[in-house]
Symmetry: C2
Subunit: 163 residues, 2 copies
């Protein structure tokens, strides 16, 4: 039972590393150059502070995931992992939300603020941003599952073993 | 010792309710009307889907906080509270990040996307958004402290009691 549990959490952590790594790469490589009425326009992730934050957050969580896998099974640090998982999941969630908010304005614009949508001009760029956000969201879901499972084990919700 | 602990967590939960409630009210009441070259321009929170999400998230967390305080101390649901705290803190964090991303564009604009800043025209509106974000952030910090404390108690990080 313990072995199945270990294999599951190990696999989930590996998938989380792969998703955050992919999200970082997909976001970094997102750029598109178009010519609009003799004017060249290039959209790239580094134009938006939010997308830079997304790249940094995903890279940090990816490196953290690798470090956790390298941790010896007898290490005293394992007791801290749930807390660290939580802090880094917060970081990842906040980077995805921020990027999603900007992505939504890029797609639909905002008439009251006078911001025009840009996705009509650079659809490939927007698709890549959407892809990065979707992949990174899988990473957040995995970390949430890991944390909820750890809390479930530690705190015995609904006191099932006591009743 | 248990009593001091209870008073502390109770007080923190009350402060969290007050912060999320204030953030909701400050955001809802944020609007400013100005006349720019004979054109009337009104900035209000409901123009931005992100700010609406911020209001909804803060209202949900505020109501959740009230429900937790009403929970009888013998309730079986207490075992679930840490997990629920975590999910709702995620919701709050994500709403703050999204609102912060939009607020940043409102303040500085984005030259590459051609989005002009609006805070120059409606400074009072922007100050109120900033206030709501700051107050709500205090709520997130409180919930994170509560969760980290619960994890600390349950999981015994660094195995201090075993050594």
């Amino acid at each position: 039972m313990v072995t199945i549990e270990r294999i599951c959490t190990f696999s989930l952590r590996v998938i989380a590393i792969l998703t955050t790594f992919s999200a970082t790469i997909v976001m970094i490589t997102s750029h598109e150059r178009v010519r609009l009425n003799e004017v060249s326009y290039e959209a790239k992730y580094s134009d938006m502070p939010t997308f830079k934050f997304f790249v940094i957050a995903n890279a940090i969580v990816c490196i953290y995931g690798l470090l956790v896998l390298c941790l010896p099974s007898k290490s005293l640090l394992w007791g801290l992992i749930v807390a660290l998982d939580m802090v880094l999941t917060m970081l990842l969630t906040s980077s995805i939300s921020a990027a999603l908010a900007i992505g939504q304005v890029e797609k639909n614009g905002n008439s009251s603020a006078g911001w025009l949508p840009v996705c009509g001009q650079v659809p490939k760029f927007c698709d890549q941003i959407t892809g990065a956000l979707a992949v990174s969201s899988i990473g957040v879901i995995i970390y949430m599952l890991l944390i909820l499972y750890a809390i479930h084990n530690a705190l015995d919700p609904l006191l099932v073993h006591n009743s």
